[in-house]
Symmetry: C2
Subunit: 190 residues, 2 copies
């Protein structure tokens, strides 16, 4: 159910995405995408992740290329990777006690054919005290993470519940990936 | 937010539970519980996991002992660990295309004081074809897993969505663990 006729090229720098493909037993190689993320004005978070996933997938050569982009959305804003601990702290204070949505765009490209999917998962944070936020910032896990947290690490202690695909919150939505694989190999168009 | 004044003793054989405590950075040691699981007649899955979590926690010595028990419930039945691949296949066929509930009972014991919690997470499986079930059984991951699947492994490909705490499905519900820790250290009763 998760096999492709030729090896997959993952167009991503993310160690989390590599970990999920490894967890699934999918053979792959990694090529860093030659794509500069510029947010087109007026695009919503759910649109931006598709734009960037397609851009990443098109920037890399290969029989099968996988591009993925993930963001954390709250009140229509996209919370990208924080620049420093202060910005990460401001994001965590904003997320505390509320439910936000994690969006991933996914593009499985096979030459001209592009199989594109969107995944959305709601994540509910517990109320956080200032000492709890300081503890989490001190762990350093916010670095390089959209929204300033890593659900697969210490960040699990910040979350009370999710609704949707958990792997999407980690950074690679497996449910839609399996769908895209099935669509891609069905007509043997590649 | 996840600190105890003295090291924790995990009363469990489960490598998944060890992995989650390590993920959270919680220091712990492991002692296998000297407790024989016998299901009292008439208890529901949500009651059984509490019974067994408390039994495990009471069977081990230590300043702080954590007992946890997890089961997969469908139509009022508890799907325990399958005895062989045939039973695992029957469980997967039953779970396919439907939503089941994973229950964990948790008991954090500090001498006489017992902090007990229940976690419930709904898990929705995709429709599964026979070749997909055969593929999953061939991976061997069903061994020792309630319900015959491991969501943190290849089993991620079987799941389309969850509602609730993901770590509960893995085997150690972090959201209620953090609550139990907070309750346990608040009055300094141990």
């Amino acid at each position: 159910m998760i096999n492709l006729p030729q090896p997959l090229v993952l167009a991503s720098r993310s160690p989390q995405r590599r970990a999920i493909l490894t967890q699934l037993g999918i053979p792959f190689t990694v090529v860093e995408p030659g794509y500069v993320e510029v947010d087109p004005p007026g695009e919503r978070p759910s649109e931006l992740v598709i734009t960037h996933a397609v851009g990443k997938a098109r920037s890399v050569e290969g029989p099968w290329v996988l591009g993925v982009d993930t963001t954390v959305a709250l009140d229509g804003d996209s919370l990208a990777k924080p620049a420093d601990a202060a910005e990460a702290g401001a994001m965590l204070r904003r997320l505390a006690g509320r439910t936000h949505t994690v969006y991933s765009g996914l593009c499985l490209r096979c030459s001209e054919a592009e199989h594109v999917r969107l995944a959305a998962t709601d994540v509910t944070f517990r109320d956080l005290t200032e000492p709890e936020i300081e503890w989490y910032l001190g762990e350093g896990e916010w670095r390089g993470r959209a929204g300033g947290y890593a659900v697969q690490g210490r960040g699990a202690a910040l979350v009370t519940a999710i609704a949707g695909d958990y792997t999407n919150v980690v950074g690679l939505p497996v449910a839609v990936l399996v769908d895209a694989f099935a669509e891609a190999v069905a007509p043997a168009d590649c």
